[in-house]
């Protein structure tokens, strides 16, 4: 089994989670690698996507696990020969079993590009607030709100933007909602296409955040990267 780390960028940032699965299947079919299929009436490729990425957000750290019996080096080379440029592979690990990243990832780093200028110091102090209630519209409740303070783990602002480490996965903060709240409070503007996910984390049994790459390094029998 292979876990692949890949990026999502350019036009591909507008590909939804469901369409992404179709992309992965097509890319893998083009590789003609011996990917395993499910049994039964309507067999499908055994591909496990990681946590979702909101539409319009770029990423340098997406993960997918594929049930295929080849070395990481071969997998990565074949994948990169057949994938859309916007989903280029970065690294591959041979893992003994599906690490179920969609279930265990609990935080991620993001970069929000935007001209913060002199406001950066004030924005940077957000992390210290005991509570930060922002508009968090959902389909069901367009006027919903959410206190995101407990979900913001680290925040560092500079003149050109903001780095945030916050909840992702099953409990999550939508980057766009956070941006909108900061924009309206501080009168700043972020680039609409300037959000990038930089890293994903799992919680160790001790409660610390550990980079998914490190976790996979610990798990893997073999690894390849570009």
């Amino acid at each position: 089994m292979i876990t692949l780390k890949y990026c999502k960028r350019d036009a591909l940032i507008y590909v939804s989670h469901i369409d992404l699965l179709r992309h992965m299947e097509r890319t893998l079919r083009r590789t003609d690698l011996p990917v395993a299929y499910s049994q039964g009436y309507n067999p499908h490729m055994l591909v496990n996507l990681g946590i979702t990425l909101p539409l319009g957000v770029a990423s340098a750290c997406e993960y997918v696990t594929v049930d295929v019996d080849v070395s990481p080096a071969v997998f990565l080379a074949r994948y990169n020969a057949c994938c859309p440029a916007g989903l280029a592979g970065l690294a591959a690990w041979q893992v003994p079993k599906n690490p179920n990243l969609a279930g265990v990832v609990s935080a991620a780093d993001y970069r929000f590009a935007g001209a913060l200028g002199d406001k950066s110091a004030a924005v940077g102090r957000l992390a210290a607030r005991g509570s930060y209630v922002i508009a968090y519209p959902t389909k069901k409740d367009p006027s919903a709100q959410k206190d995101v303070a407990p979900l913001l783990y680290a925040l560092r602002a500079d003149r050109e933007g903001l780095n945030v480490c916050m909840a992702a996965g099953n409990t999550t903060v939508r980057p766009q909602s956070l941006i909108a709240a900061i924009e309206s409070e501080f009168g700043v503007q972020f680039d609409l296409c300037g959000v990038t996910r930089l890293a994903q984390y799992v919680r160790t049994p001790e409660g610390a955040l550990s980079d998914v790459d490190a976790m996979l390094d610990g798990l893997a029998q073999d690894k390849a990267y570009v």
Partner: protein, 590 residues
């Protein structure tokens, strides 16, 4: 000031506008720059095989590049207008007006308003006469070119027939004119390009001074261009699969069917060729499904051989082979083996044998029984039936025949399986008498009469258990009928309707019948002229186009229709329609 980037980030489904699809060539912004437009949403336009073929065909040329543009959804159009940004191409976000040539593929009549919608958003004048050398050359093609007259004056060039060779030739003529030391002169270019076979230049070839335009087709379909490395959409599209044609043309000659006559002559691809293409397509696209397309797939003489050659590889790669348009009388248990046994689709088109002979749908009641018995034995329990209403000579007895077919299917199912759980879905479309068919002179029945027949059928079908009935509001068919047999006077109707709010007319929720009626009245048009029966002794507006099938043949077929006489399939021998199929020859057979 908004940028395109900002607009895309605000619209529904931005992927429609930003490109970056797998197999999308890198643009150098050099040579003749062509923008291929489809006046429909991305998901529909990208599903079109013709667009994929021509797009890659041009991009494979040394001297030209092709980009794409689709009709933006209304939310996107509103933002473009607000920002006063012209509609751009997908690949390099270049405004359409900055291209050398802009091509429109017009798939059906209800897209005419969307052509203007796109031109409007692109800040390009609608009428060819209002565009000088500063504007791109506008080219139209696609199935509607059978009768291009209603939209002819919007375009500089109309491609009649298959574009794979014609379009590159047009581009070549353009390139030479652009490079001319005396400077580019649009009028001189048009005079020159009119000599390319298949090219119709409406400004030079007018109803007052006609010359014949010969439809273009690829004589060697076996080796015709096919891009194995074709665009793979980033988002789900309507036909999200590869399409490979088995052959062009149709041997059956159903008398209502424009495609059946327009795409003649019959030209087949060998099984080996199709299989090779399909294998290449799997490698280069990764699609999970390949549709083996043609007008009547069951008539493909090499189907068995093809499936035999292709299926092992398709199975190994988990690729589904879809066989659309299987005719009832060719349904053969073997072809559907391994397919999901859900629903079976048949198009008897008419309810009685007499009427099927009139329209030359060569299906008998026995065919229906035999095929369905086979199908039920294999486990099918759902049947979809397509019929047409408003066929020439149709009476209420023929409608009763539809009901009877449904009852018989239920009885058959019961006899075969001992069960009653079969569902039958009946869909009825209106006959629209189309150019280049033996019915091109017939009257189209009125919306009122259509409603009567629809209700009659609806009530009668209620009595049969397990049957659902689908039919369409006839107002759309009425307009389609007007434009199908329209002439140049209708261009101003299209313009009026667009200016008063018509667009996306193909989408039921956007179709504005009242606007179109108002447009027709405002332009002083009597719609009966187009809907009534047409005189046999005068040339029809599209008859300056030589499609290969002769007027005499169509007239003969019309007479046979009125005598309830069917005409055999070309596979039993050439019927002498005039287009001289090399694949059939005098002796018949393949």
């Amino acid at each position: 000031m908004s940028s395109y980037q900002e607009i895309w980030s605000k619209v529904d489904k931005p992927a429609r506008y930003v490109g970056g699809e797998y197999n999308c060539p890198t643009m150098r912004k050099e040579g003749v720059r062509f923008c291929m437009c489809m006046p429909d949403l991305y998901e529909v336009g990208m599903s079109n095989l013709g667009l994929r073929l021509l797009y890659h065909r041009i991009n494979d040329m040394q001297s030209a590049e092709c980009e794409r543009c689709f009709a933006p959804a209304l939310d996107c159009a509103a933002l473009l207008r607000e920002a006063n940004l012209p509609l751009p191409s997908i690949e390099t976000q270049t405004p359409l007006a900055d291209f050398d040539m802009v091509g429109f593929s017009v798939q059906y009549e209800m897209l005419y308003s969307n052509v203007l919608y796109m031109l409007d958003l692109a800040h390009i004048p609608f009428w060819a006469k209002d565009r000088d050398e500063r504007y791109p050359i506008l080219v139209a093609g696609g199935p509607c070119a059978v009768n291009p007259e209603p939209f002819a004056e919007f375009f500089d060039i109309i491609d009649i027939g298959e574009g794979e060779d014609m379009l590159p030739e047009i581009i070549e003529v353009y390139r030479k004119h652009r490079a001319s030391p005396n400077g580019y002169d649009k009028a001189a270019f048009l005079r020159d390009v009119a000599r390319v076979e298949g090219v119709y230049v409406p400004a030079l070839n007018t109803p007052e001074a006609r010359s014949v335009v010969k439809k273009r087709f690829l004589p060697d379909f076996e080796n015709a261009y096919y891009p194995e490395a074709q665009l793979v959409s980033n988002i789900e599209i309507v036909h999200d699969r590869a399409m490979v044609e088995l052959y062009r043309g149709c041997a059956n000659g159903c008398r209502f069917c424009q495609a059946g006559f327009y795409y003649r002559p019959l030209r087949y691809r060998s099984a080996q060729k199709v299989a090779d293409i399909c294998k290449g397509v799997i490698d280069r696209t990764g699609y999970a499904e390949i549709s083996l397309g043609s007008l009547s797939t069951g008539d493909y003489p090499h189907l068995r051989e093809l499936l035999h050659t292709l299926r092992p590889e398709a199975d190994r790669r988990h690729v589904n082979l879809a066989l659309p348009s299987l005719r009832l009388d060719t349904f053969d248990g073997e072809f559907s083996e391994g397919a999901r046994k859900s629903s079976l689709t048949f198009a008897p088109e008419a309810g009685t044998q007499r009427l099927r002979d009139v329209i030359n749908k060569n299906i008998t009641d026995e065919d229906i029984n035999r095929s369905l018995t086979l199908a039920f034995r294999q486990g099918y329990n759902s049947v979809k039936l397509y019929f047409m209403l408003g066929l020439p000579t149709e009476t209420d007895e023929d409608l009763a025949g539809i009901v009877e077919i449904c009852s018989r299917i239920r009885a058959l199912y019961r006899a075969e399986t001992g069960k009653k759980d079969v569902t039958v879905s009946v869909s009825c479309n209106a006959l629209i008498p189309k150019p280049l068919t033996p019915f091109q002179w017939e009257a189209q029945i009125s919306t009122q009469e259509m409603l009567r027949r629809q209700l009659l059928l609806k009530n009668a079908l209620r009595a049969v258990k397990g049957v659902t009935f689908h039919y369409h509001d006839n107002t759309v068919s009425e307009l389609e009928g007007i434009f199908a047999r329209g002439d140049r006077r209708l261009a101003k109707v299209i313009e009026y309707a667009y200016r008063h709010g018509a667009c996306f007319d193909g989408w039921t929720e956007h179709f504005k019948y009242d606007v179109w009626k108002e447009a027709i009245a405002a332009c002083g048009i009597d719609e009966r002229v187009y809907l009534d029966s047409q005189p046999l002794d005068k040339p029809l507006p599209w008859e300056f186009i030589d499609c290969g099938v002769t007027r005499g043949y169509l007239l003969r077929e019309r007479e046979r229709a009125y005598r309830n006489e069917a005409t055999p399939s070309c596979l039993k021998g050439c019927q002498g329609c005039g287009c001289k199929c090399a694949a059939i020859g005098k002796g018949g057979g393949v």
